[in-house]
Structures are given as C-alpha cells and as structure tokens.
C-alpha cells in the first residue's frame, strides 16, 4: 500500500518536471512544425548554469539561480532561432538537423567546461524536509516542483488564451501562412517562442537538478521524454503537454515497478500505439 502511495505522489512530481521540460517543446513544435532536437540540451545547459550559480563560490539563492539560468537560455535560444534557424525558414528537415548538430556542439562544450563529473546541488535548505503520512516518506522538494509546474502552467495558459501575444501564437499554430497574411509577424513570434521554450527547459533543468543531478548525457535522456510527452499529448497544445506529462509520470513510475521486464520499452510502446492509432496525439488537432 505504501508502495502505491509513494509511486502515485512521485508520479505527480515527475509529471511536474516533465511539464516544464515539454511545454516549450510543444509550443515550438506546434508553431514552427519542427521537433527541436536540442531541447534536451537546453535542459542540460540550463541545469549546468544553475549548479554553477548555486556553487559556493557564487552561492546564489536557488530560485534566483533558476531565473537567471532561464534568462540566459532565453537569450541563447533567441539567438539560435534568429541567426540560424530563420535562415532555413520553411525547410523543416534542415532545421531539424541543425538542432541536432547544435546539440552535439552543446554536449561537447558542456563536457569541456564542466568536465565529466556529475554535479548535484543540495536541496535548498528551506525545502529539505520530508512529508510523512501513513508511513510514507515524501520529500517536500518534489511537491514544490509540482506546485511550480502548476503555477507555470496556469501562467502559460493565461498568456496563450488571454493575451494578444497568445492569440498570435494560437493563430500561428493553426495556420502560419494565414497568420502572416493578416499581419502577424510570424518570424518574430518564432524567435519569441523559441526563447520561451529554451527558458522553460532551463528553468526545469535547475529545478530538477537536486534530484536528477547534471552529467554528460542528461540531454539525450531528457529529449526522448519530451518527445513522448508531446506525441501523447499532441503538439502545440499546452493542455496536451500537461496531461501528457502526468500520464508519463504515472506510466513511468507504475510501469517500472510493475513490469520491470518492460522497463526499456515502457514509454516507447504507448508512444508507438498513439502514433499508429491516433497520429495527432490525444489532444492535438490533425496536422497536414
């Protein structure tokens, strides 16, 4: 019983983290029609920025470090879109490949700067406690992740559904050429969304660092998770990303515990099923 309870709570915590990772990925995918293969790199690089800022030599506050790292990644993401991806406007395959090439570069640069050692910042002092209910131990910190994810989800939702910018993004996701015709500066929108996605991933990287730690290869571990979440949830849909994240959180936790023999395919099998049976994802609209 305690096992199931622990797994259930942990599923939600992991789901929260996955949402931070995949919300931006989903928006980029929906708007620009490309899977951003450097999204895992944004997550990892952001986490490395975070551990550096948290290190004793700088000793920044945890949340401040997460914000600074997110801002830095926003700038990097914006520059990548503006000066590299935009040159290839409309050529999806080269764009995808470009993000893949950049992910190689980022991985090697990180190895050069932060060496191969794993880095794991301590859990922030004020969040270090453990929630103890009915014999189940659960660290506060992971619950805080859920809280943060929910706050960000609401903020994003408000932005997309209630602001002018959000309306433009929705228009772009629905039909970029038409949006362009009606006077929306779609290319600026691309830059903005790409920067936003990078920032969210970096923020998630810092928030996740105390329990995932940061090491070479983290990028390649996170990217498939973002892909799966977005495939399940549907591209360009924040609700889809949210539901997909929690779905994967549960699937991962219960799947690993209940079917250890399927551990390697536990996430890819459902992804495959959805792709084959409902290619637009659970919440996505049909894309041509």
């Amino acid at each position: 019983m305690t096992l199931w309870l622990t797994l259930a709570v942990n599923s939600i915590a992991l789901g929260g983290l996955l949402f931070l990772l995949s919300a931006g990925f989903s928006l980029i995918f929906g708007l620009m029609r490309i899977p951003n293969l450097m999204h895992g790199s944004f997550f990892m690089l952001g986490a490395y920025f975070g551990v550096t800022l948290l290190d004793n030599r700088i000793g920044m506050n945890f949340w401040a470090a997460a914000l600074v790292s997110a801002l830095a990644m926003a700038v990097i993401g914006g520059l990548v879109e503006r000066f590299l991806l935009r040159r290839l406007n409309g050529q999806e395959l080269p764009q995808v490949l470009l993000t893949l090439g950049l992910s190689f570069i980022i991985a090697d640069v990180c190895l050069m700067i932060w060496t191969g050692d794993p880095w794991q910042p301590p859990t922030p002092d004020h969040l270090r406690g453990v929630l103890q209910v009915a014999g189940v131990y659960f660290p506060y910190f992971r619950l805080v992740i859920v809280l943060v994810a929910v706050v960000i989800a609401v903020a994003l939702w408000l932005m997309v559904d209630w602001t002018r910018l959000g309306a433009m993004i929705r228009a772009g996701v629905d039909d970029a050429p038409i949006a362009r015709v009606v006077g929306i500066k779609v290319s600026q929108l691309f830059t903005l969304v790409f920067a936003l996605g990078a920032a969210l991933a970096a923020f998630g990287g810092v928030i996740g660092a105390p329990y995932l730690s940061v090491y070479p290869g983290l990028d390649a571990e996170m990217l498939p998770l973002a892909l799966i979440v977005v495939i399940l949830g549907g591209t360009g849909s924040l609700l889809g990303a949210l539901v997909g994240s929690f779905l994967i959180g549960f699937l991962y936790n219960f799947g690993q515990a209940m079917f250890p023999d399927l551990a390697y395919v536990i996430l890819f099998l459902p992804m495959l099923l959805v792709l084959v049976l409902r290619p637009q994802g659970l919440f996505g609209r049909v894309m041509t």
Binding site: P35, L88, L97, L100, G101, F104, I105, L227, F268
Partner: protein, 327 residues
C-alpha cells in the same frame, strides 16, 4: 544527378583510385578506415532511398542495421555457416522492414520520423534486455570473417576489396533504381502524393516497396559492419547510430548518389582519424554539420556544385543565375 553529369573519365578515375587504394595507401589502418567509409556509405545510400527519393525521414534505421548484425552474428554463434547466416540476416531484416514500413507508413512527415524513432528504440531495448538471446551489453563476438570462393577476408586488403565490390553493386543498383520507372514514381509520391494517387498509383505500396529496398541494403550494410568489427552490442541500435546515418545523408546531399558517400566519409574520418589529433572532435563535427546545413542546406555535394557553377559563371563574366534544383 550530379555524378552522371560529370564526365565519364572522372567516374572512371574515381573507381580506378578506389580499386587501387590498398596499393597506394599501404598502411592497413587507413585501408580499414576506407572499408568503414564504404560500408557506412552503403548504409547511407540505403537510408537515402527513403529520405531523399521518398521524402520519408527515418530515425529508426539503426534498428534494422543492428537487426541484420544480430541475426548474422547469432546464426554464426550457433554454428551455422556464413552463407546461411547472411541469408537469414537479410531475410530477417527485410521482414522487419516490412513491419517497420507497415507501421510507420500510417503517417508521413514528422509522424513517420517519430514512429521509426520509437521502433528503433524498441529494437534497442530488446537488444539490451533480451539477455538470453543477445547476451545483453556484453554483445556477441563474430569469430571469423567469411572466405568466399576460398579467399579469406581476414586481411585488411581483402576485406576492403570485398566491401568495395558490395559498395559498387549497391551504387549501381541505386543508380538503376533512381532511373527506373519505379524510382520516378517514388519521387512522384514525394513531390505530388495526391496527384499520384489520383493518377491511379498506389502511393502506400510504392512507399512500402521503397522501404523494403532500403531495408535490404541496410541489412547488407549491417552484415558488413559485423564482419568488419567482429562484434555487435546494443549500442549499434542506439538512436545515435540512426542520427549519424541521417546526418551523413543530409549533410552530403539528399536524393543524390554522391551525397551519402561524401557524408559517410566526413563522419567516419572525423570519428576515426581526426579524433586522433583534435581532442574536441565532437565539437568540430557539430560545427561542420551546422556550417553545411546553414550555408548549403541542400547538402555538401549539390551545394559545392552550386557554388562551383556560380564561381565558374562569375569568372566568365556572365550574370549568375539562381541555382538549379538538384536531382
């Protein structure tokens, strides 16, 4: 096709250079590097059938590549002869390609890419986890290379010649394929799927046959790979392998015959030769890819041809025209 426009003598010289390579290279290490380039070129050419001519981007071909390798290695390990092992491996791979194709062709574009990616990951997971069959990450050793017609391929030279032969057959097959009516209809499904459908072509079937053709040559490349390395382990099926093959095709130039070969050469030389001199070779590889994609989005081979033509015209004082679409 750029290579067909090239004068016949250039093709002849290239083939002559390849055939005589062991005699002027000398050191077996470099001959081995050449063998690796050729075997990965076969892999890249196979992938190019789908990516270039079919417009179907697969990120799961490492799964097929590894499946051929595993089937061959396991047959040999079980004591079967080379011929039986090779035929089984090819049969298994073509069969697996059919399964991949039927599933993946429910979609096109990014959906196709994602399904193939998932399938590749599942093959990787099985290779890792199905211990009793695959020996897990400890991998399977291939103790001997074959000796067709009594000629042992154990030496670097002989293996190179065998690989070159397979490579040339693959290249010729591809050239014929591209020029055949079937190749034309495959390109038709890439450019005008609806119109092809309206004209009465079975678009789905054309794509599936292309997938099988691609799978066949991927299997051949997978066999060459295990005979070359004499070892296979789950890393071969990893996403990294699929991504590298795709980078070979796209950086060299999709829907060309020379492109995938050039791409294979870049990747193999960077990984094996340049890495001995440049510690951050991964970084350099990434920069090269980004540079190629940024400045020659059509790929290295067509891109160079375009730049060459531009330069040529500029030299002769004529106004440069817009680049012609390649292939």
């Amino acid at each position: 096709m750029s290579w067909m426009n090239a004068p016949r003598w250039a093709t002849g010289v290239a083939i002559a250079l390849l055939i005589t390579l062991p005699f002027w290279v000398g050191n077996p290490y470099y001959i081995n590097v050449a063998s690796q380039i050729l075997l990965f070129a076969v892999f890249a050419l196979a992938l190019n059938v789908l990516v270039g001519y079919g417009g179907l981007v697969s990120l799961g071909h490492a799964g097929l590549f590894a499946m051929a390798g595993y089937a061959g290695a396991l047959m040999l390990d079980a004591g079967h002869g080379h011929l039986a092992a090779d035929l089984t491996a090819i049969a298994v791979t073509v069969l697996a390609s059919a399964v991949f194709g039927v599933l993946a062709l429910r979609s096109t574009g990014i959906g196709f890419l994602m399904i193939t990616l998932a399938l590749g990951q599942i093959v990787w997971g099985i290779a890792y986890r199905w211990q009793s069959l695959t020996n897990g990450d400890n991998g399977v050793n291939v103790t001997t290379r074959p000796a067709p017609f009594g000629i042992s391929l154990a030496s670097a030279d002989n293996f190179y010649f065998a690989t070159l032969l397979v490579f040339l057959v693959a290249l010729i097959t591809m050239a014929l394929f591209v020029r055949s009516p079937f190749g034309a209809s495959l390109r038709g499904t890439r450019d005008q799927a609806r119109r092809m459908n309206a004209l009465g072509y079975n678009v789905w079937l054309i794509r599936l046959v292309a997938f099988l053709f691609s799978g066949f040559w991927t299997g051949v490349a997978g066999l060459l790979f295990i005979y070359y390395n004499q070892f296979i382990s789950p890393q071969v099926a990893a996403l990294q392998t699929s991504a590298e093959a795709l980078l070979m095709v796209i950086s060299g130039g999709t829907a060309t015959l020379l492109g995938p070969i050039a791409g294979a050469a870049i990747v193999v030389i960077m990984k094996n030769v340049v890495s001995a001199y440049v510690e951050r070779w991964n970084l350099v590889l990434g920069v090269i890819f980004v540079a190629i994609i940024t400045f020659m989005p059509e790929g290295l081979v067509p891109g160079s041809v375009r730049l060459w033509k531009l330069a040529w015209r500029a030299m002769r004082g004529r106004p440069a025209k817009a680049a012609e679409p390649s292939a």
